[in-house]
Amino acid sequence: MFSATTVTSTEQRIGQALDELFEKRGAEAADTRIVLSAEPYLDTAGEALRRRIFLTRGEGGENLCLRPDFTIPVCMRHVAQGADLPKRYSYRGLVFRQRADGPGEFVQAGIEDLGEDNRATADARALADSLAGLEACGVDLDRLDVILGDQGLFEAVLRALGLPEGWQRRLIRTFGDERALEKALDALSKGAEDILSDLDPQLIELARDREEGALTRLIRMRMEDAGLPPHSGRSPGEVASRLIEKVAVAEARLGADALSTLEAFLAIDCSLAEAGERLGEVAGPAGLDLGRAMTVFETRNLALQAASVDLNRVRYRAAFGRPIDYYTGLVFEARLKGASDTLAGGGRYDRLLTMLGADRPIPAVGFSLWLDRIGHCLDKGEGAQ
């Protein structure tokens, strides 16, 4: 299937082992094209991808790209074909990305698990299958660092601390981007009066008094003056209500206690087996009720144990996430101890399928394995069993 120049014999061997494993685990192999429309990628993962993918133009001016990953085409194929759910799709093949440290084409394999309403089971299955995949390749699991994060818990902590919604959204957006999160926390602890300094005092006054109607009229007039099209883009009411929120947010402070609780939460980095206890130590004294998110977390841990994943093998890091807005809950990564290259990565992306045109929300979780990196480690004898 692949030319010998790009795929080593080790990669071929582990590829076959994975095909067998995925079939045994009940996933259906999904074919996708190599040349794809770039729009869904730029639209969901964002413009940051533009410099990392191989982009070209079709004759009609449309943006095309060489397949940068499998998740999006597999999900789009599902949306187009409308198969019964739940369903698990497997894939293995070349993906193409511009990277400084390796060739622009490499092989990935993985499973996308769509429509399973029991999220704990599906999450656990994704992590268990990715570890089984690494093992089937010949990687010694004892030599791996497996890290797990959960955006749901972070969101629950913010809610429980009673932050204004504008702040919750801003912090959630930065989750997984350490530098941006730190900056946002800093602004939140200091408060930010200067944020309002360049605003018209009349507008601030109206916003403080929550005069949404008057603000909307003012803004509508300005929009009409500028000749902005009235039915596309931000409406006057939308700008007015965000201004009110902005003023409320600027005047909100995070108390020292709340900030230290949030920081203590974000600092949690322990084995998954101890995570429940550590979370309790942070939430308990602060009187935080993490509610459903905690139940989800604990149910998932039980499901992981049921799927024979040793919780002592997995590290829970509270601050670990991905700052892409279709990721919603679980994220995980596996790499060799002390190494930086991810060998396997996955997560839950409940928001992606509706973005790609599904007519109702479809829960989804998946993982992919980097066969070139795995093959490389094995050839060097670094991760072998």
């Binding site: 801003r170 931000r234 965000r242 892409i324």
Partner: protein, 230 residues
């Protein structure tokens, strides 16, 4: 043995570039109208070409010319890694303009990038599409929004001219564009965000990567660079 230097082929940029060369003792006479060749006095073996400013950036990237006078904005937009690909010999003190992020001035709730991040993050849920940015600077935009400000959710609409009209035309929500006085932006009811200056650009003398050039041409290039204070 010869060395090529390209300068902008029209307008004030060309005049100023000619004056700069003149004060370095290099007298360039533009040929007949529409000719892109020139006659050069004051530097043996130097050939001066007249090209469009954006073409000069591309030719420098590809190493097709040895030197070029063009805007820093075009260099940073055209070349992925300018620090390693070309050398900034001298900033020439003309052609000053800023590449900026500008939003409709009726967006009274948006005065900095943090605000814009909030708006972009919530845009899709409300409007069923990403926030659209009209620009001809996709590389600068992407690195400013994503790398510097951690904003992921937006779409770039490539614009080839009259970018400032895009919000009123409904083809984009905001713009990233170059401005010298800001008057065009103001006339179009756009305001620059407080921390929305992506780049303070001016005309620069740029030297292409000299790797692969023979030693003779290289020392000639060094000589030329010296005339500009290096």
């Amino acid at each position: 043995m010869s060395l090529t230097l390209a300068i902008p082929s029209k307008g004030r940029l060309m005049e100023k570039a000619l004056a700069t060369l003149d004060s370095a003792g290099i007298v360039v006479k533009a040929g007949e109208t529409r000719s892109y060749r020139t006659s050069v006095e004051g530097f043996e073996g130097l050939e001066v070409l007249l090209l469009s400013a954006s073409e000069i950036a591309r030719e420098l990237r590809d190493g097709a010319i040895d030197f070029g006078v063009t805007g820093e904005d075009l260099i940073r937009e055209t070349i992925a890694d300018p620090e390693h690909t070309v050398e900034f010999v001298s900033r020439l003190g003309f052609g000053q303009a800023n590449v900026v992020v500008a939003v409709p001035d009726s967006w009274v709730d948006v005065s900095n990038m943090e605000d814009l991040g909030d708006v972009a993050g919530a845009f899709r849920a409300r409007h069923g599409r990403r926030l659209r940015i009209a620009t001809k600077y996709w590389r600068l935009t992407q690195s400013f929004f994503t790398r510097q400000h951690g904003i992921q959710s937006y779409r770039i609409v490539e614009s080839l001219g009259a970018t400032e009209g895009a919000p009123a035309a409904g083809s984009a929500d905001i713009i990233v564009d170059i401005t010298s006085t800001g008057s065009t932006l103001a006339a179009n009811h756009l305001k620059v965000l407080g921390d929305g200056v992506i780049l303070k650009s001016e005309a620069c003398l740029i030297r292409a990567n000299a790797v692969g050039r023979d030693p003779g041409a290289r020392s000639m290039g060094d000589e030329l660079a010296k005339r500009f204070g290096v």
